[in-house]
Amino acid sequence: MLSKRNLKAVVVGAMLAAAFATTSAFAQDAGKVLRLVPQSDLKILDPIWTTAFITRNHGYAVYDTLFGVDEQGKVKPQMVDKYTTGADGKTWTFTLRKSLEFHDGKPVTSEDVLASLKRWGQRDGLGQKMYAALDKAEAVDANTFRLVFKDSFGMVVDALSKPSSNPPFIMPARVAATPADKQIDDATGSGPYIFKKDEYRPGEKVVYLKNTRYVPRTEAPSGTAGGKNVYVDRMEWIILKDAQTQANALANGEVDMIEWLPPEQYTALKNNAAITVDNPIPKGSFALHLNHIIPPFDNPKIAQAAIMAINQEALMRAQMVHKELYNSCASVYPCGTAFSSDKTGYFTGKPQFEKAKALLKEAGYDGKPVVLMYPADFALLNKFPPVMAQLLKQAGFNVDMQSMDWPTLVTRRAKKDPVDKGGWNLFITGWGIADNMNPMFYAPLTGNGEKGWFGWATDDKLEQLKSEFLASADEPRRKELATAIQQRVYDTGIYAPIGEYKPLTAYRKGVVSGVVRSPVNVFWNIKKS
């Protein structure tokens, strides 16, 4: 018989053995659970209210769209079964697929679609343009709706398939009735996943369940189009912010996938035989943005001089480190996509210091410092500004590089004041391919002054070209217009690309498969073994 003391020892020993058992409980799944580390924390659930990418991704999980774009960016019907265009190009009639159902079991109707589009049209830039051109939007019956435009509007299906913020997600009419400037709190959609509100813990975990009643399209998945098949029972977004912790958790099998692998972890994970490093999103780009509302970049010649200082190779090498993770591209659209063009005028992506100096002299640059904002805390961007500052100095600028955290930068870039009152002259940020593959999707491509994106360039010609682009449905004409828009960007010196990068996704080899090629990260079709 065990003595009291021995019994204690046995119990403690058993407890310790259980606690330290090498078969990790965290590596086992009850059912198929896909655990992935998203690009950031999901704090806002309304993909129409914010343009945050993480909320857009949440939107793709929960909601469906009328149209999608495939991996090449081609528009394909999604919730729409068929559509027709009237002879005048002004009347568009759409019929929804059968069996579309919201997560609460109610059918998706034309009323839901029109309410959702109306809310989106109040918030999204392209949506606002579409609604300005719209004469009426009406339900023909429960499954059919019609859009009638005042004049020809060539971007109807492009707008309805807009892949990035803000995509026109379809919500129940009762949810879409929420004013566009108020955040919704009901995530009922008709998409392939159901948001599990009771398990939603911002900063910790976001849980989605497979929507077992979702009827996917029969086409193969590609981009945001095709069959949205879900092969896992549950998808958990595990919020891990530290790059090292993300990589460790993947290597240890605690998570299955990292949506955006930070470049500093590339070498370690690329050399790990148990990990696949992939890039399902073909590319993204970085750009130098200039403030045109205050001197000196209110003078297009001085803006051009700053753009001539860009050395894409030097900037991208500093930021991305590995040559296989970036490439130069002088087009404002992603190289290799439908609208990219090598007609870039003076801009080559290579430094032209002497020409820049001559332009500065001609424009009468007074030598006052230009403020380059430097987001020191943002690892994805913080190698660029020191290199850019040096390049600008070599081109003849006096540069004041000011260090700040990213939240301060996003606040400060909204200020239109002179630099001595908290304003700014330059900053660098990144964009996804879904944001700049089409001139009407790209937020910084504005020439409407203070109503436009930060930098507030005024260029009536650019706005005119954009209006023509909106009206045209003819592909060759659109290509011409897109090229003309690109040339205006460089002539006015609105902004300039500083290179393209490969967004990396990492997942467990032999465990995760079926990751969809797409302009934005989507999480259907993923299999876990």
């Binding site: 965290f26 803000n166 910790e204 912790t245 240890n252 301060t408 606040t411 909204a414």
Partner: protein, 313 residues
Amino acid sequence: MLIFLARRILSTVPVLVIVALIVFLMLRLAPGDPAAAIVGDSGTSENIAKVRGQLGLNESLPTQFVRWSGQLLQGNLGESYFMKKTVVELIGQRIEPTVSLAAVTLVVTILIAVPLGVVAAWRHGGWLDRMLMGFSVMGFSIPAFVIGYVLIWIFALHLQLLPVQGYSRLSQGPWLWIRHLILPSITLSIIYVALIARVTRAAVAEAMTEDYIRTARAKGISEKRVLMRHALANAAIPIVTVIGIGIALLIGGVVVTETVFAIPGLGQLTVDAVLSRDFPLIQGITLFFSVVYVLINLLIDLSYLVFDPRIRY
């Protein structure tokens, strides 16, 4: 005693008012705008201005402060600017990981530090004492995140015994819970072990020079009993005080440790709230920590009654 308690509790009110005012002003005067973060990268200045208006950030500072104070008086800490959740709800979601981490750390610390300090005092000046004090200096000198990453590398990545990150709630099972806390609590406890061991050593070493120790030894009481019943009991007040201060310091320590181990506790919530300029959340968490700090100090004062019966309030 009751008068003492009432006075102490009342004295916390001005402390909390000052904390509230300072935090409120610091947040409003610091750069950064939650509206810009809410709107996102593709949003325009127009959208940012609209959101600022909706959040009430265009109102004057006194108006904003009065509105917030009014809410506070009704027991309402407000709602996060970003998440459609109240500050109380968010704190409630995050309190368990932080309390668990702090509690396990405290237990680990006391179980290691007090015996270490007593042994060092007992062998005062000897090799054991020097070794323990050397360890103590090392504990002070190495940053918690370095210790954290080294432990992760050894026990999680190399030996694969413990998880790299995260937290498992107690309701999911005690073993999963403790597994996730072992590395973080060891990381966090090292500096406190160093602190408390040093104080224990000094307090016990001083007590060992007292006449009653000599008397106890002269009566033939065993050395173990002399140490535990006479020296340690009389050295308890400074040790308890420093443990109390240590608990308060833990509040700061959990921020780093929770970040390294991705524990979704109040420390991470604080960092997130600061980075996104979620003013109601930062204000709520700060006030919550202030109340905890004041309560811990009160409990320490009350514990003196237990350790030294001569003390009366």
